[in-house]
Amino acid sequence: MKKALQIIGILLVIAVPAGIFGAYALWNKEHRDVASEKVAFEMTADELLNEFEKDEEAANEKYIDKAVLITGEYLETENDYGAVTLILKGAACSMADSTEISLEAGQQVTVKGRVTSYDDLFGDIRLDDCTIPNKNK
């Protein structure tokens, strides 16, 4: 009996801190860092948009929340409430930080980001956590 209690005691000494540590690690789990992720798809903004226009549900399943690298024609930049959004033909990319980017309308740009949805109001793809990989520069 005494031995059994001892074993339980030892197990508790190990299990409780491990449990607390595990719960703590889970609680403080890091946010995704899309910029450092490997992309799941690499394509033009038009190609991505076409897939959503063809079959939104299938495209949702395939692309939403995935890191992608898309290339498209740069149109303009919007900047509200400190959030910078690059508008490409076929995609609206919310930038991960509010650093101003100097691009010229009409130029091709490659953006890395996470697909969040098809925007039926503007008929384009919405991306979040976007960065411009070095190869543009």
């Binding site: 789990k29 399943e61 939403i64 509200d80 959030a83 609206a92 949805s117 098809y118 039926d120 919405r126």
Partner: protein, 187 residues
């Protein structure tokens, strides 16, 4: 005569399009935040990715926000929100489609604050409910059009089930704040 008719038709058509172009406003960086407060825990989330088109002439407004664009302080909360509550893989957007009814006249050329009522269909988690909420439109001295609307969403109204283990941590009613800086739609 035919020429005259054609000209008249052209004039009418172009007048129609110009009127349309001028009366429509849009945003693509609408800010949506929500706040759930209980004695156990306060939870906040934010998105800057709301899209909206508003037609001053008709009052018609459409609004959409990607659920995957909400960020939480804790990655774990964000995961639970997406996977367990709003099921954003299945229902990627929350939408509103309805009208803004101004109390009194609204003049986008006159700076000031205007009270507005938003009426229409709000869709979240695949469930659509009729809502009526109060909001404010502010026309700044520079002619910018800011809309702010605070409304309350009961997760239960949208079939969002909160498991009993966390029920004390998530409010029965979540306060949602929408801020939009509308710009004239050129396209």
């Amino acid at each position: 005569m035919i020429l005259f008719r054609t000209l008249l038709l052209l004039a009418t058509v172009s007048a129609f399009f110009t009127a349309n172009a001028q009366s429509k406003y849009y945003t693509r960086d609408g800010r949506v935040s929500f706040f759930s407060s209980t004695p156990m825990e306060d939870i906040e989330a934010l998105s800057n990715d709301a899209s909206s088109v508003f037609d001053i002439k008709t009052g018609k407004v459409e609004f959409g926000v990607p659920m995957k664009s909400f960020t939480f302080e804790k990655a774990l909360m964000q995961e639970h929100f997406n996977e367990d509550y709003v099921e954003s893989d299945k229902f990627p957007k929350a939408k509103f489609k309805g009208i803004f009814e101004f109390e009194g006249d609204f003049d986008p050329a006159k700076a000031g604050e205007y009270k507005v009522i938003a009426k229409g269909k709000f869709t979240l988690h695949g469930i659509t409910q009729e809502i009526t909420e109060k909001g404010t439109f502010t026309v700044s001295d520079e002619g910018n059009l800011f809309a702010v609307c605070v409304f309350h969403v009961k997760p239960a109204d949208y079939d969002i089930e909160i498991p009993s283990t966390v029920r004390d941590k998530i409010a029965k009613t979540v306060e949602v704040t929408i801020k939009m800086n509308y710009k004239p739609l050129k396209r």
